[in-house]
Amino acid sequence: MTFSRREFLKNSAAAVALSAIGGPALAASGPQTAEKWVKGVCRYCGTGCGVLVGVKGDKAVEVRGDPNNHNAGLLCLKGSLLIPVIYAEDRITEPLIRRGGKKSPLEKVTWDEALEFAASRFREAIKSKGPDAVAYYGSGQALTEESYLANKIWKAGFRTNNVDGNPRLCMASAVAGYLTTFGKDEPMGTYNDFDSATCFFIIGSNTSEAHPILFERIAKRKQSSPEVKVIVADPRRTNTSRIADMHIFFKPGTDLALLNGMAHVILRDEMDNNRFHQRYVIFMDNEGKPKTFEEYKAFLADYTPAKVQEITGVPADTVEKAAKIFAESSASLSLWCMGINQRTRGVWANNLIHNLHLITGHIGKKGASPLSLTGQPNACGGVRDTGSLAHLLPAGRMVANEQHRKEMEKFWGVPEGTIQPKMGHHTVALFEAMAKGDVQAVFIHCTNPAHTLPHLNKHTKGLETAFVAMTECFMDAETVKYADVVFPAAFWCETEGVYGCTERRYALTEQAIKPMGNSRPVVQILMDFAQKAGVDPKLIPYKNAADIWEEWRTLSKGSPYDFYGITRERLKKASGIKWPCPTEDHPGTNLRYVRGEDPLVPKDHPNPISFYGRPDGKVVVYLRPHQPPFEPADADYPFVLTTGRVIDHWHTATMTGKVPELKKAYPSAYVEINPQDAAKLNIRNGDQVVLETKRDKMTFPARVTDTCMPGLVFCPFFDKNKLVNRLFHDATDAASREPEYKICSTKVYKQA
């Protein structure tokens, strides 16, 4: 069938309209004519853009932006080129096992054999060493239903809290930051705030490359309103700074001093919002002891702009200007990502960003919010909210809290005392325990730790020692080398499930096509595996993912995470709904904690804002001193090495590496070095450069550019042939246990 342009547009409009109400639609799309469009969420970053998957026959042929979702139809280059990932040549489509240990080859087997092979090893481990001998290592890319189910199977079924995952590596500090300051996790603002903010304070985030569609929204806002100011604080001057009014280069690891310096200027010049912090804020030191406002001011006396300049290298007048723009704008929005979270004082840095908002009152109104950006599509909804980490239970409950454990035991219908009071191993400790033999069998789902863990030379020993069962879609994932069993998982639009993105938005990806080959939805794999491994079948009575959603939705009822009103039917119709959403007729919440906006705040509450996360209804401004990173540069290792993303690739490139355009735009990793440093070391563009740290040394081609400030070098981490994490230490934040991927000291020299 061919369409004229006019017919195409009519059909396209019909497709958009029909997709919004969940019905099938017809649309033409150039070379490949899609017969129907199926709604979903992009597979990549935490922005959570809506997509429409065009299907022809039994194949997905095209991806478009969903006009009804927050991205208004727009997609970045990765999202628009998703189709080749589905049909990658190295898709794993059959169950595989290694019969003769880690060095034997992977062999194709039946599902029954693979499941029994894995389950028997789990049974043996529990029998010989108890329930803590097994673990689950999950992912912020797993569907919500999968993470909730795994959490239940391990914590209530196997009776171990050894449930952790890659969100520990990316946003655990943001979680602990929200928890300590506000009492509950997840931000109060949403992307709608981008359209009202008049000051964007972006720190430790290359939004342009890591969250391109959010960057587009900031750029659009700035274009439409010239008074909008964008401040970017980052030791790298990335593409994000192309729209910035002010770029603040600070020495890596001195962010705490910079943030305290800004707070100092705000209070010194009386740019704070006295009425706001008198009513809503309490002050605390590191030990949790209450402090007064005057004591907070005295504490900040150490952070005069001149002193901050000494520590951070930021000119004193820049600190003054940044503080003034932030405080005096009508609505300031802070955005941060891994530059703040992946630090040994990541939680403190998070607290200090919140401080700026709480002393100025830039919170609880349109455009004013501290909004942490997440890296993965379902770290928020899937892992944070369902409590699928070693210290958490669902909907904001904690393992260490007896009342919370009792509530979950009652809800899950297991005897009291089933859930252990002891927290499980966080990620770094888990892989150490695997190396020691304390954890003998692990189930890894939807993540690639052999590529992403810090101090890889140390932590791959855990994968070599323990029995590893994993779900995976792509054969070239580094972790497959260590797997004893590989379960072929249905990929993205081959199954259905919910993603929850940065802004508390839950959106459903519907099944567009059948799972490839013999692969299966992971919900099915987890249930079959658990049954064979000896978990009580009563714990897993589900027919499909929708049943699990129903249980999870019911569990959220009445909690601070209440999304009982987000039914599966509503998710099929709407392109995402933001919680809190307690009833089916509630449209979702933009301004959390705000009377008249947040349904969990009584309409007759005496204050316009109710911070109900903490029992006293107050939020906390912390007196957090500056502390250096774990491994600052020194005389022997004079440079700082940092890592991050490039726009073309996502995480370990097991997906983006399958798209010819993306792979060939950035085929391999490089080291970015400042021209001043390059001149001193006689390094020219393209030269082979050695990075040598206390752990290992590696060679990269040089890219001489002034993106990095002098003294800093940067390597992207997507390249499996250049596993840059081998160079890193594994020091973690004392509270969040998130590793410091952003800073280690290194030698840099030209290869002889």
């Binding site: 006019r6 958009v16 799309s29 997609l75 280059l77 750029a219 192309r242 355009e661």
Partner: protein, 150 residues
């Protein structure tokens, strides 16, 4: 059509072939150390890193793109044009079909244009992809900089 073309079509064909071959040979030899137009022939692993060479070979188009909204947002060449060996996930086309390429992100805008003004034959006739005024003024409220981040 000039009469000699009718008489000697093969001669013209050979002359064109020679000119084309000469061009590529020149580009490959004239820029031996930097990847350039010759990359279309000899750097298959970097087919999609268009800008690296095109900054030199087609500087105006490259700079226009860099200053455009697509440039600021890093919607790179291959997203609309495909890659030159034609082995990418979308067809290589120097002048992409708006109904196939632009519509992937801009279907709602195209729809609005139709409702407001009647359908225009090509997006590009009013919204030139690599030229001002539409793109040159993009994000003009940002701080001025001639910095290239590549």
């Amino acid at each position: 059509m000039p009469a000699f073309i009718k008489r000697k079509p093969m001669l013209l064909f050979l002359a064109l072939l020679l000119a084309l071959g000469g061009f590529f040979a020149y580009m490959a030899l004239a820029f031996p150390k930097v990847r350039c137009e010759g990359a279309h022939l000899n750097a298959p692993d970097e087919y999609a890193d268009c800008l690296e060479c095109h900054l030199k070979t087609t500087p105006k188009v490259s700079q226009d793109w860099h200053e455009s909204k697509h440039g600021v947002l890093l919607v790179k060449c291959v997203v609309c044009h495909g890659q030159p060996d034609g082995k990418g996930s979308i067809p290589f086309n120097p002048a992409p079909d708006p109904m196939f390429i632009c519509a992937r992100c801009h279907a709602p805008s195209i729809q609005r244009m139709e409702e407001k003004f009647g359908l225009k034959p090509e997006c590009e006739s009013c919204h030139p992809n690599h030229q001002n005024p539409m793109h040159r003024n993009a994000y003009e409220n940002r701080a001025p900089s001639d910095k290239t981040n590549f």
